[in-house]
Structure formats: structure tokens, C-alpha cells
Amino acid sequence: MKNTFIGQPMERREDMRFLRGRGEYVDDVAMPGLLYAVILRSSVAHGRLISIDASAALKVPGVHSVITAADMPGGPPIVPMRLQPLPEFKPFEQPVIAHDKVRYVGEPIAVVLASSVAIGEDALEAIAVEIEDLPAVADWQTAAKNKSVLFEKPGTNRSLVFQARKGDADAAFANAPYVRREHLRTGRHYGLTMEPRGVMATWDDAAGKLTVYGAAKVPFFNRRILSAQIKLPVESIEMIENDVGGGYGARGEFYPEDFLIPFAARHVRRPVKWIEDRRETLMAMNHAREEECDLEVACARDGTILAIRGEVHTDMGAYMRTNGAVGARNVSQFMAGPYRVPHVKIDSSLWMTNKTPVGTYRGPGRFEANFFLERMIDMIAADLGIDRIDFRRKNLITSAEQPYPIAHVQPTDARDEYDSGEYSETLERALKEIDWPKLSKLQGKLIDGKYHGLGVVCFIEGGGAGPKESARIEVNKDGTLSVYMGTSSVGQGVETVFAQIAADALEVPVERIHHVYHGSTAYVSDGYGAYHSRSTVMGGSAVLDATNNFMATLRQAAGKRLGCAESNVALDIDKVTGGGRSMELSEFAELTAEGAFLNKKHTYSYGAHVAHITVDARLGRIEIVDYVVVQDVGRAVNPLTVKGQVLGSLVQGLGGAVLEDLKYDENGQFLTGSLADYLLPTATDFPNLRCVVLDDYPSPINPLGVKGAGEGGIIAAGGCMANAVANALQSFGAQPLQLPLTPTYIWELVQAGQKQAAE
């Protein structure tokens, strides 16, 4: 039986319910006596909140009540940060509802509770809100002037500067024979989930118990936030994770609504449900990515990278949300990517603006960093007369250098190192897969009205954040087993993956793992959740520990009952044997054991993207002819789902590379409030994509050898597409320095090239 399931491309057990319309997402849960919450949001980007008059709304038949900050004794609670909770960020954290100022279009002002959503929406229009306009800060450059400040107390719009440091970059630049400096920027994206967010809360007055449905990603942490805000012990709050329609880093963080809805349920002593609509989610859920940088790279004449130095500016939006600092932090630490860079100096400024606040979106800061450096590498290789692939080969970190120390970031003092891998192997494999030597003669060629271009980039993906994850194994009444997890599902297939790991460890058929429960706070003593590509790394390793503890517990119990030494007890599918006797496993129903995995190091999977594209210079239109991602994930527990992660995240990345951009005007008015404005990839956009998943270099820092693998597809897509466009349009001297690569932008690059040629 040993090790039968890990490594197999197993079809997912989750699919049986999803394919038949039997998933249960939060809006699918019905509850008698329900009130529906609808939220009045600010239509002003920056202003002083003078008054809210809900008297007319309260007269609308079917309206139960209207909740504002005035209903919260002591003022509205603040949502604390989950990651990098630095004291510097405190003044910039978000109150759950506006009370003195509004700072972005979409900020909650009032909550209407009504007998239906439609009636609630009718009532919104009857609420009179007076706001005194203040000058809007609609971009980081305006923020940096500090003329109009979002927060009077700190008096500055810059909440922090992260400093990534390694070696002595200034000295390296002073002596460098070659330096190139560029200004690059990425668009504003968001981890758009197909299921908008939702929260349903019930309050049991007699038991003093609050139950919150719609939890996702980090329910245990969110329960602690809610407990402190609503002043109930954590034991009095149960968070229930329903099926979750996508996460991508954005879903499941603690948002204002995660307080407002439970508060409302307790306030009116009725169950309350809130389901976000699409327009709302575009302006309420975390934004991400909008980063701009001045980057310098110093090289020897032979193409050896000597140092990188630069300044990054992130448009943070109006508040420091739970994980809002991650992107600005990561972009500084991972600017060097998978390359050997002895000297690093990156200053990353976080600027508060009158926009929807940012949080993490799959590959936070990494997508941006990859685009910034990889775009420059192509330009530098051309300057130095070195083939751009040879340039990368020369600088990629080798396995002999592992573990490789990377830049540390102040003030969080996060010292970190890459764990394992021979990075060039993925590059070579990708070049072979796409047949680079054959395609290379097409570079820049005009064929049938389209210019052909090739792109190539290498990437590193971090995963497996600690400090801990928990799992528990229990015998069911029928003698099957259940696995209970502290991690969450955001749709990535963890039920299948954890069942594979548990079945292998217990040496039982995978069908004996009857169910994998996850996400809700009742299942294990302490859970951490699904972020930083950590579920398989941390959760999977916790399952291993739980199976060990489970077998020890079972041996102890069975040894007594079978009258044999514990060491002689064995589990044989549905039987427990020992001393020549046998019992049914079902006789041990409810026997349970918990396990945990503790780890502070990170896994680093890595790989390469190569693309063959065409560009129609007249229309600015890009088509992908072939695109290959090669990623080494340490060990693939389920190759089917790993490939799904790589290709799925790749298409998200291509969306960010060519389509997606959340736009505001100079008054902070939001311009992209529908899916007709914020463009997502559809089935016709990117048909020709492939991936190869390798597991040649297991991670040395966890017992499974696995590495986080959910983000490698997205991280390098922007850099690869931009390099391919530059390569295709080389006859125009086009050098894309911003994303997305919209038709307009490409057309502008072509026009500029033609104008320059004419002069």
C-alpha cells in the first residue's frame, strides 16, 4: 500500500457536488426570519461626513432598521492588520464604518436591514447623506505632495517605507562598469472571485452565541478580530466556512462587513445576510498591484549582475487593510527574483490615496517585481551584446548555492533564504518545449501583417508561510476516517489532496478517508488558513503529524482491547489487528488525534515562462501562438490539480498583462464598476497555453518535500508578455515599460517608433 496516492493525478472528490449544482456557497444557506443587509457606500472619494438622515428610509415598508456609526458605543471598531502589524500602520487602519470622514468611493456609511434585498436597495436612495468635499488624492504623486492628507493625525500620506537590503549596493554602483535605469509601472488589479463575498450571522441570545457563515481563508484569525471588536470570548463565536467561490488572496480577509453583519445580527437579534453585488465588490474588495518604480541595475561587461537599486511607490488606497502591506514589502524583497544578486537596495514607499484599499492578490509584489526586473534584463542584454537567454543562464542561482540568502526587509526584519533548486533546468526545459532554436529566426519578423515575438523570463514563487497548521484524524461510526483541517478551501482542491496524503500515511485506500472537513473553527483547536501557497505545505505536513499521533493513539487503545503490545497493533484498512486477534475499526468510533506542523521557513518553487506571440501593429492586438510554463514544485501531490493551479494562475496573469486595470479619474471617482469596464480573460483570448510540472528538487524544510505552487503562473506572465511584445516590435524600437499592454498602449509605442524613425 505504501505511497500509492501521492503523485497520482487523482480526480477531485469536490467535483461530485460542484458539477451537480450541489455546492453550498454562503448565499445558498437559508434561514428562517432572515433580514437582508444592504450597504450605503460613499459616492465621494474624500470628504467630511457631516450628517446622515435615515428617517425617510425607515418609513419604506419592509425596512427594519438602519445602522450607522452612531449605533456603535465608543465609535466604530478598527480592523487591525493581520500581516506586518507594525505600529507605524496603526493610524491608517480602517474603521468598520465611516464616522468622521469618507476616504474612498465605496466606503460603508450605513447598513440597511430589510425584508428583501430589493426593498433594502430602494431604501438606500432615501438616506440623505451630507458630505463636505475635500481635495481628492487620486495617485501616489499627489499623495507625495502631502497638500491634502487623508489622515490629519500622522499628517503624511506615506504610511511607511520598507527597506530591502543586502550587501552594499551603493558601493557596488559606484564602481560598476555598466548601469541602466528605467521607470516602470503596473496597473491596478483585483483578485476578482466569481462568487462575490457574503456574510450571514445568527445571534443566539439565550446561549450568547454568534455564528458567522461565509468565513474563508483565515477564519481562526478573523474570529479573534471579531471577538475583540464585538467583545465576546472567541469560544462564543463560531465561524463556518461554506463552499468558497474563489480566493486569490482577496477573499476571506477581514473586511468591514465581517464586523457589520455579525454586529447587525446581535443588534436586532435576528439572522442577517449580506451578499455583495458585482458593482459593490469592484469597489469594496481589496485592490492590488498598482506599483511604480525607478529601478537601476549594475552589471559587469560580461553580463554578471553586480547590484540592483531602486525606489518603488505603491498606491495603497485609503486604508491599511489586514494584509495591505504585503505587496509593497514583497516587491522590495523579491526584486532580484531567481538571480544571484550580491547587493540589493530597494526602498518601497506606501502611499495612501482616495481609492479602494489594497490587499494581496495572488503573487503579491512578485508579479510586479518580475515585470520590473525581467523587462530590464532584456534591455540590458541588448546593451551589452549578450544573448538574453545566456544573460539569464549566467545569473540564475545554482543548487550548489542553496540555501541562498535573499535581501532582508526593514522594519519587519524578515530574514529569508531560498530552499532548493537548480533554476536553470526549468529554463532549459521551457526552451526545449517551445523549440526556441527553431522559433528564434521569427523574432521581429513581419508575416501576414503580424510581427512575431518571443518572450522569456524566469521566476521564483514563495510559499508555505508558518508558523503552524493543525489537522485531526477521527474514526467515524462506520469505520471510515475523517480528516479535520485548520486550513481552508478556496476551491483549490484541498479535500482531495489531504485525503491522498492521509491515505498514504495510514496505508489505507483513499476511499476510506470519507470526508475532509476544513475551514470552520469547530474542527481543530487552532488553525491558520489558506494564503501564501501554504495549504499543502503546512496543512499536508500537519496531516502527516496527525496520522502519526492517530496511530499512536489507536495502538494504545487497541493494545489494551486486543491484549497485545502496542507495537504489535496494525491498521489493516477497516480492521485493527494485533496478537493474532482482530477488531473492526468501527469499534473505535470517535477515537481521534490531532497533529500540527510548525515551521518558520518558506518554500520556493521556481520556473520559467516562454512565449511566442504575434502583434498586429495597426490594431495593437496581441495573439499568443504558443506559451509554456515550466515549474519545479518540489513534489507534486496531485499533478492534475498542480497543473490546474499553474494554468489557471497563468491566465489570471495574462489578464493582468494585457487586459485588467482598475481606473479612477482625478477626483477619485471609480470608472470601472462593471465587468464591461474591468476586462477579464475569456475562453477565446488565450487558447494556446501549456505547462510542465517538475518535482526534481524537493523542499528540505517539510517532511513531504512539497513547495507552494499556486502563484507561479501569474507571477511571470506580465514580464514574459512585455518582453515578447518588445521582441516583436523591435523594428519600432518599442520598449513597453508599463502594464497592461492594451491596444492603445501598443499603438502608442508603434507611433512613437515611427515618429522617431522619421526624424
Binding site: D15, F18, L19, L192, M194, G246, Y248, Q492, T682, P687
Partner: protein, 154 residues
């Protein structure tokens, strides 16, 4: 007002407000929660159901407009016993992750394959381009639909 139509082979009569969409009616009045709502402005396709055999966005029509028609939701294309050939193909090709958009893809693909069991990859992509999936990148979905064609050939 009262409106009558057939859902998954059963006659139903519901008393609805004129402004109620078919999607909300199916989900909240008839408790057929397999039909999902992702955008409410006709872009994402998660709410796609079959109305008299044609794929229709149930967020863009009112319940009262369904009067007299035959509606099939994802539940109507499913059985307790086993997955349908199309559903099996989705599972085999890992054509879903979070599952939220899946019912809309199943209904859309079912309508396509019923009408055009010989369609090619370009046609599949063209028809599916009205449905948004944020997890899979569509690769597995297109493979799954192509692989399921055989089951629809008469």
C-alpha cells in the same frame, strides 16, 4: 403576480414581484441554488439556464417572462446515481476548481453539444466566451467539452 412554468420537468406556480429576476426566483423562491449569480449584468454567465432548450442568462430575464416555458437548470442535468458524460468529462479534465462558475458552463456546453455535437475547438471557445471562469484558464473546460462530444452524437 402568479407565474407558471416548468422547471426540470415539474410544473411550478410562483407568486413573484414583477421585478424579480428568473435567477433570484430559481434560487430563492424555488431553492434551486445550483444556478449561481456572479454579476447580475449579463457578463459572467454563471446564472445560465436552458429556456426551451436555449442557453439564457437568468439574471437578464424576469421570472414573469418565463411564463409557459420549459426551464432546465444544472440540477435538471444531474442525477443522484452518477455524473452525466459531460460532468464526468469536466471532472476528468479538471475543468473546475472553486465550482462557482461551473453550473453555467455545464448548461452552456450542454446546449451547444445538443445542437452541434460535431463542433470544433474554435466553436467551443466562441460559445464559452460568454462565460467567465477565474480559476481554470479555460484549458481544461475546452478539453472537457470536446471530449464529451461523443456522448451527444445520435
Amino acid at each position: 403576480m402568479t407565474t407558471k412554468f416548468e422547471v426540470n420537468g415539474k410544473q411550478v406556480s410562483v407568486d413573484v414581484e414583477p421585478r424579480l429576476t428568473l435567477a433570484d426566483c430559481l434560487r430563492h423562491e424555488l431553492r434551486l441554488t445550483g444556478t449561481h449569480i456572479g454579476c447580475e449584468h449579463g457578463v459572467c454567465g454563471a446564472c445560465t439556464v436552458l429556456v426551451d432548450g436555449e442557453a439564457v442568462r437568468s439574471c437578464l430575464i424576469l421570472a414573469v417572462q418565463a411564463e409557459g416555458s420549459k426551464i432546465t437548470t444544472v440540477e435538471g442535468l444531474s442525477s443522484d446515481a452518477d455524473l452525466s458524460p459531460l460532468q464526468k468529462s469536466f471532472r476528468k479534465h479538471h475543468a473546475l476548481q472553486c465550482g462557482f462558475c461551473t453550473p453555467g458552463f455545464i448548461t452552456t456546453a450542454h446546449a451547444l453539444l445538443t445542437e452541434e455535437p460535431d463542433c470544433d475547438a474554435d466553436r467551443v471557445r466562441e460559445v464559452l466566451s460568454g462565460n467567465i471562469c477565474r480559476c481554470t484558464g479555460y484549458i481544461g473546460i475546452v478539453e472537457a467539452v470536446l471530449d464529451a462530444r461523443a456522448a451527444y452524437k445520435k
